[in-house]
């Protein structure tokens, strides 16, 4: 009878080939991603205030504790998975997706939803069909729409104030919050104001939201670093930018007074964060080369439609979750041809 494989090892890996391995690890990839988030976070602290750091610490601790606890409950190896950095990446992305002055418990709740609900209920790292950070964001915006729309106002970067908003019980928020660029644009357009006059309001900077466009630039830099280190594929960022940019271009060219420019769309909201850090999540994105393109184009198109016609100002998270659902189908129908079956150029 054929031998049954052991739980984690088919055979002794030291006995069978290959006998050498590239010095890579999940941990290394995850910490590279964390490093790539630093420029965006730096811009955040500079433009919006250091309050986000409180949330980052809070979210990181919650994520690690939740990860360890669930792994223990599930009788899985704890140390190796807790230290792989994946929980920290999820925690940081949740924080970057939420307004940075939400009360502390909302951050904790969002991280728990991400780690326990979206990740471990589906089987832990590698098994979750939905991007944990985006699932948490969507759950929070549905459950706490008011808190989730209180974005810190540009110019009020005082740390003490933000500290009290996050950790204090009372929320005297008048004058401390402001509309984001996407919010202002949506409200303006609903009020039948044209794009040009909306853009003249104080919420807007050079191309996107005032202040926020610097954060987007930070994420773009981080993303380029990930591309340079080959940590991520170029396929998702590029095709997302094309999907969102092209859809926005078509409508903008038809009616520029009613639809903002593609540049505005790409520089606002979470577009850059999503392009380089969310869509490139290996677990929940499509895995085939063509599948990655389809997946990210889809997110871009859905994001534009939700932003333009939906009930929420930002639509990327919904686009991601919807396309996450399609991943098995996309993967199955984009299986690449094997060697000898490819339509490659012949001599």
């Amino acid at each position: 009878m054929a031998a049954q494989p052991r739980r984690n090892r088919v055979s002794d890996p030291d006995m069978s080939s290959p006998h050498i391995r590239k010095p890579v690890s999940v941990q290394r990839e995850m910490f590279t991603v964390l490093l790539a988030l630093v420029p965006g976070i730096t811009a955040y602290v500079w433009q919006i205030g250091a309050g986000i750091l409180v949330n980052l610490v809070l979210a990181s601790l919650t994520a690690l504790a939740a990860e360890a606890l669930v792994l223990k409950l599930r009788a899985r190896p704890v140390a190796i998975t807790v230290t792989d950095g994946s929980a920290l990446v999820t925690a940081w992305l949740v924080v970057l997706a939420l307004p940075s002055i939400v009360p502390w418990w909302l951050t904790v709740l969002a991280v728990l939803v991400a780690i326990v609900g979206a990740k471990h209920l589906y089987g832990g790292i590698g098994q979750n069909p939905f991007n944990p950070a985006m699932a948490a964001y969507c759950a929070m915006i549905v459950a706490y729409p008011a808190l989730m729309s209180q974005w810190p106002a540009i110019g009020n970067t005082d740390f003490t104030t933000q500290w009290h908003l996050i950790l204090g019980g009372e929320r005297a928020i008048d004058g401390l919050t402001g509309a984001t660029a996407l919010d202002a644009m949506r409200t303006g357009l609903r009020g039948h104001t044209d794009v040009t006059s909306i853009l003249s309001s104080s919420a807007f900077g050079f191309v996107g939201g005032r202040g926020w466009e610097w954060i987007a630039l930070g994420h773009l830099l981080g993303g380029l670093f990930l591309l340079a280190t080959r940590t991520i594929s170029w396929r998702q960022p590029l095709s997302f930018i094309i999907g969102l940019g092209l859809t926005a271009s078509v409508f903008w060219l038809i009616a520029p007074e009613r639809f903002p420019s593609p540049l505005f769309h790409l520089a606002s909201g979470g577009a850059m964060l999503a392009a380089f850090f969310i869509l490139t999540d290996p677990v929940t994105s499509s895995t085939t080369p063509r599948g990655k393109l389809i997946f990210a184009v889809g997110v871009g198109i859905i994001a534009w439609f939700v932003r333009t016609f939906g009930a929420y100002p930002e639509g990327i998270a919904f686009g991601v979750l919807l396309m996450n659902l399609c991943v098995p189908l996309i993967d199955r129908s984009t299986q690449p041809a094997t060697f000898g079956q490819r339509k490659e150029k012949r001599p």
């Binding site: 080939s17 290996p282 060697f339």
Partner: protein
């Protein structure tokens, strides 16, 4: 001269080469070992039949095993000496199983049998092919496919594989540097045998000395009616794989179920071309090969090793340093751990690596797959190894077949790049063997069913035939009876009547009717 257009194969990896450790010293001889155990099976396709008995004196290069069948290849005494045993010896195989081997005790004289070079000008194609087979030549790159089969096909492009893409191995490199003339002569013979229009010698660009040496020989020789070119190919594992090198040099992509000859291409290792030259031009059968011994040893290098030399002898010669945990045969990407060191060097053993945990660190613990797709990017066959992994792990073998597991060449690229340190190739080997077993079972079941159905049908047919035969016979008898009825009955009746009449007459003549108790033919005389 314009640069040749090279093609790309998908994936591939670029691990540290580690060639310099062994490639900087000339090929050195090995002192005669105390014993040589030459296995009868030296090729992937066939075996040899022993033609010596224990006690026989043999000369170096003397045939000791004849080619068995068309695909078999002969084996020869690696040195002069005495056959001391024909018995089961360990195989150079990951299983460590035994195989039949002829054991020769060297007499130390290294006396060659009379060498009979072929006159290349007058020898016929068949003679050349027969000599290739009789000299025991098989592919020396690792697959050990019988060369006389490959050389006996008509093709357009002959490829000589000097890529040597696996790290640490440098035996082909040294061979090309030192024996380029013989390699090119062998290539010319193979070109003649195959009728190839051109010969492409592919060498990875990390072997500049070999490239120079080969180019020198090719350029020095007068043009003899065909194009021979040395082509530098980029260093990228597994360029030395036959199908990968064919892709790089010619652009043809040969699927797993296709043969290169149907594309007009045939590929031989440089070592094989060298052996062809030695056999045909010098009359020397294949009795030795160049083996790289490297890794954690004091004297790494390339050695001319007699076939049948135990790996332990080589390790002893090169002196394993402390910390050597295990010994690999072949390269670090496709080679295997030798379960026992008394295994012999065979025609396809290109490299022996003494592995320490420093040079070849044990695999870190396996982590869950994060579907990053690095494996798919590195796969030279264009597979999705992570999908194969999910299927294999779940024992969903239909899924594994759907994702073309049979196309996997086990090159190890996927496991090399995996950030979760999953031993992917091990999963695939396991799934492949399960699928093979399943197919065998299915075939056996199909055969049994076919046999049963055939038997049932036969029994059924026999029964029907028998019934038909009986019916026919009955009808026939009945018809015959009916046809003969009148005549037969009349004759019978007439006879019976005649008999009865005769009897009655006899009785009435012999005695009066009153005394007829014992009416018979000869009634007793009444005693009155």
């Amino acid at each position: 001269m314009s640069l040749p257009h090279l093609f790309r194969f998908p994936g591939g990896i670029q691990p540290d080469a580690h060639k310099k450790e062994s490639s900087e010293q000339p090929i050195r001889p090995v002192p005669l070992p105390a014993r040589l155990a030459v296995p009868l099976v030296q090729s992937s396709q066939g075996s040899a039949r022993t033609i010596v008995t224990v006690g026989d004196k043999v000369l170096k290069g003397q045939c000791i095993g004849e080619a068995e069948g068309n695909a078999g290849t002969a084996i020869h005494a690696p040195t002069s000496g005495r056959v001391t045993e024909i018995g089961r010896y360990p195989m150079a195989h990951p299983s460590g199983l035994d195989t039949l081997a002829i054991v020769i005790e060297p007499d130390g004289e290294e006396r060659w049998i009379a060498r009979e070079p072929l006159d290349m000008a007058s020898a016929s194609h068949e003679e050349l092919i027969l000599r290739v087979q009789a000299s025991g030549i098989v592919g020396m790159g690792g697959a050990a496919f019988p060369s006389h089969i490959k050389a006996n096909s008509k093709i357009d492009t002959l490829i000589i594989n000097g890529a040597e893409c696996e790290p640490w191995i440098s035996c082909d490199d040294r061979l090309m540097r030192e024996r380029s003339a013989d390699i090119v002569t062998g290539a010319r013979i193979l070109r003649r045998l195959t009728g190839a229009r051109r010969v492409l010698i592919g060498i990875e660009d990390n072997k500049p000395e070999a490239i120079t040496a080969m180019k020198l020989v090719v350029q020095a020789a007068a043009d003899d009616g065909g194009e021979i070119s040395v082509i530098t190919v980029p260093t990228r594992y597994p360029t030395g794989g036959q199908k990968q090198l064919i892709r790089v040099l010619t652009g043809f992509e040969i699927a797993s179920n296709q043969r290169s000859s149907s594309f007009g291409v045939q590929c031989f290792n440089v070592g094989t071309a060298h052996a062809v030259c030695r056999a045909l031009v010098h009359g020397e059968a294949m009795v030795s090969r160049v083996v790289t011994v490297t890794g954690n040893v004091e004297h790494p290098g390339n050695y001319e090793v007699l076939l049948g030399t135990a790996v332990a002898d080589l390790i002893e010669l090169c002196v394993a340093k402390p910390g050597t945990e295990r010994t690999l045969m072949g390269g670090p990407l496709m080679g295997f751990t030798l379960p026992r060191l008394d295994a012999p060097i065979t025609k396809s053993s290109n490299c022996i690596i003494a592995a320490s945990n420093t040079l070849f660190p044990p695999a870190p613990p396996e982590q869950p797959c994060i579907r990053c797709g690095s494996c798919a990017q590195s796969c030279p066959t264009g597979l999705l190894p992570f999908e194969l992994y999910w299927s294999s792990r779940a024992k969903n073998y239909d899924g594994a077949v759907h994702y073309n597991i049979s196309e996997c060449i086990e090159c190890g690229c996927c496991a090399y790049v995996c950030p979760a340190h999953i031993p992917l190739v091990d999963y695939f080997r396991f799934a492949k063997s399960e699928i093979r077993a399943r197919n065998q079972e299915k075939r056996a079941a199909d055969q049994a069913r076919a046999r049963f159905e055939a038997r049932s049908a036969r029994l059924e047919r026999d029964k029907a035939e028998k019934a038909a035969r009986l019916t026919a016979k009955a009808a026939e008898t009945r018809a015959a009876l009916a046809a003969n009825k009148d005549a037969a009955t009349d004759a019978n009746d007439a006879a019976l009547i005649a008999a009865a009449v005769a009897r009655t007459q006899a009785q009435s003549q012999a005695q009066p009717p009153a005394s007829g108790q014992n009416g018979g033919a000869t009634p007793p005389e009444p005693s009155i």
